[in-house]
Subunit: 153 residues, 2 copies
DNA sequence: ACTTACTTAAGAAAAATTATTAATAAGGAT
DNA sequence: ATCCTTATTAATAATTTTTCTTAAGTAAGT
């Protein structure tokens, strides 16, 4: 069994969080700790507004801006995963099954056309959750060109 | 080889578009045709603003509102695919590999934890495009509860 | 030719996120 | 312990993206 803090976040998780902050020179402010704990505790994939409301219960003065800023920095440290993609909507008329690679730097979107053997099969547990109408698979990272640019510095 | 129109949209694609519009009682306005063609021709996954600018070159009076309205209806007909997820950002502190099923009706997000055999492997052609830092796999559709609600009507 | 959906225009309004600025406080130095 | 530097924060304002309103005109499709 895991060692747990009173609030349910594993001590391991918290320690990991503190280490990552220290490593990147981020100060351990109460707001940051509270926001991290809130996401770590929630099982419902909260949005920024929801985190804001939850944190406000114990820290009535946090601003929504801090929540957004903190969530972004936690994402940068890899401590929190952003579900979905919050950028503006983009469209594609190619309806054949294919995926996308999005460069986090330049924003370019590349098509990934799977070979017949690579096509994604919908896991049975997903079909049990509901009727799947759409599959969205997106990889993101640094594209070749942006990688090269970084090295040029 | 495919039969092509002068502008590069396959006749098949256009025919499919016209049929779908007819089936759903959507009128075949020049704006709708032009917007569809623009997305179909573009290889760059354009956003609404980009479509707007492109369409304006040949139809200087289209409004941005029409572009948004049309793109949405084309998506509803399944003629156009919305890349990424345009909803608000949601966060998850669970960093283990897992996917999500999002209900298009109620918005609830369900976790999909793959069994070891189901885990996604990153295709080599993706690794060739750049350094993958994040994988985002999202299924969407109607969840069980919302399915039941629909039947109850 | 008629009906009715659709579009334009111009503006307002939501909704989500980010920037500005002055005050505050974390964490290292003294 | 206290001081200092600099990141961080609260509060508010601003931006960005998308949708809605209203009204008047246009044109698709039967």
């Amino acid at each position: 069994m895991h060692t747990q803090t009173s609030c349910g976040v594993t001590a391991e998780q918290l320690e990991n969080f503190k280490q990552a902050c220290k490593q990147h020179g981020l100060r351990l402010t109460p707001q940051r700790v509270e926001i991290f704990k809130t996401v770590a505790l929630s099982k419902e994939h909260p949005d920024a507004e929801h985190v804001f409301e939850t944190v406000r219960k114990t820290m009535p003065n946090v601003s929504l801006d801090t929540v957004y800023r903190t969530l972004s920095s936690l994402e940068d440290l890899g401590l929190v995963f952003r579900v979905g993609f919050s950028s503006k909507a983009r469209f594609d008329a190619d309806l054949d099954e294919h995926y996308h690679f999005v460069c986090t730097q330049c924003g370019e979107v590349f098509d990934v056309v799977p070979s017949s053997g690579e096509k994604l099969s919908i896991p049975p547990e997903v079909q049990h959750l509901g009727r799947v109408q759409k599959v969205n698979l997106q990889f993101s990272g640094l594209c070749r060109r942006c990688q090269a640019k970084q090295k040029d510095l």
